[in-house]
Amino acid sequence: MTLAADVRFILKRNFVTALAGVLIVALMIIAVIGPYVVPHDPLSTNLRAVLVPPSAANWFGTDHLGRDIFSRVVTAARLDFAIAIAAVGMSAVIGTAVGALSGYVGGVLDRILARVVDVMMAFPLFVAAMALVAVFGNSVQSIVLATAIINLPFYFRLMRAEIAQRREAGYVEAAIINGNGLGRILFRFLIPNAMPPVIVQISLNLGWAILNTAGLAFIGLGVAPPTPEWGIMIQEGASVMISGHWWVVVFPGAALALSVFCFSLLGDGIRDIMDPRRRS
């Protein structure tokens, strides 16, 4: 079977996954080109048009400073996605490499690293993120770093278990006999074989990282106003939600929920495709 036929076969049986994938690509495109094509400046205020309900001029209405919510929601996509991708990328690369090394080498190094990771996992994720942001200072870089650190243990544990299983495999022995070094055995032979669960984890993690970023912004950490960001927009809209101005909160909230929803669907879908035994 050719690759194209393979892909078609898989997609036909995984319509929802394909749809989620398409939506994510669409969201990514919006994140990249959105800021250039939005109808209004996301930062410009207009005190004569405050809290206007959705209309032809302002598709999603305006907020308490008269800023166009549609433009802000679209512009925010870039920042939220960028933070999530940077953070998850960092933790996936470092966590996978260290986990693989720990699982392959074993011994004292493995025991120490596993212990360190156990301690990291003793802190609830969101609280750990709060503490780390407090240490690194209240900025976007801190959010990226904090999110990356709290996600490290998942990749470490996953990779460590996968590698420890495969350490004794025939092809590894063959590679050793052929005189391959440690780095080459790990990166050329072992890690590629152990990648599928990591890819699932990355997809699930991206959605979670977006949620985490917005949550931190909601309680006032990381991204600072007036920067358009979904969590901040929801936080700013919270005070007017009580008086019935639903559009200030609902549109950024929906954008946030949709992104998270798509990533988790995609993650579940990829897992089903790669590992038929664990289909839910």
Binding site: M130, G220, G237
Partner: protein, 324 residues
Amino acid sequence: MLFGVLVVTFVLIRALPGDPAIQYATSPSAGPAEIEQIRRDLGLDRTVIEQFGIYLGQIAEGDFGYSLQTGQPVLSDFAVRLPATLELAAMAFVIAIVVSLPLGIAAAIWRNTWFDQVCRVLSSFAAAMPVFFFGLLLIYFFYFRWGITSEPIGRWPAMMIPPIPITGFATVDAILTRDSSLFWTALGKMLMPATSMAIFAIAPLLRMMRGAMIDALDSDYVLAANAFGLSRTKVVLQYALPNAMLPVLATMGMVLSTMIGANVMIEKLFAWPGIGAYAVNSLMSLDYAPIQAFVLIVAVMFVLMTLLIDILSAAIDPRYKLKG
């Protein structure tokens, strides 16, 4: 494990910005000599190991320093707020369990029917729903639109003088004083924040329960029990359910972790006078002593709860080995 947590919080204190000696030197005339004196008083000129020992001693005495914001010892600030948080969290947890477990069992029994599909869609939505967004939606409909609930701020209605706390748990206090109207007021105030908090826990619990129940129902011992002609209820509740609980318990740790995070956001949103909102406010005003205490207390609670889950798992399944 707890020792590791203490080491991390100690490192956290060292890593937080700001020189403690300068912070303590409140008088503007404090010169380098005075600051040096304070540094010596605080033990900051000792070695790191000695300082860690001092830190352990302080924790053992319950000395977490003073909050710059409230001017109170951090420990007494926490003592006042902790019951509010625990009460809310307990209610959220009960809601999550009561909703997700029966639905998960039902979805497993009637698998691949419309009911199963509805559960699946609902849990997917619940998993993607940011807790603070869901809380705001609840506020919009139940408070603004339909006017069913009272004002979504704080633990007591605005016009009410809070009763003198006995245990600090509003509902328990109400029961102790046999005041039923107070009990319903307190419970009513908790309902909306607790539901918002529960939403995030429902999805993973429901999925896990369904998956574990399906595995249990497909197993040989259930087949045997059916063959013996035992009633369906008996087979499901007595044979399948205990075995299906084990994987559900295993996810409980993760669920607790996300719920503690959700708790912080929900307390902030509903102006709930608990430790989460307190920690956020301290963080905003760069008041670090309460944050250190918050991180330590939450981590210790989390470790203890994980241990409890471990013990429960061992009680259910003799094959299960305690992680220790």
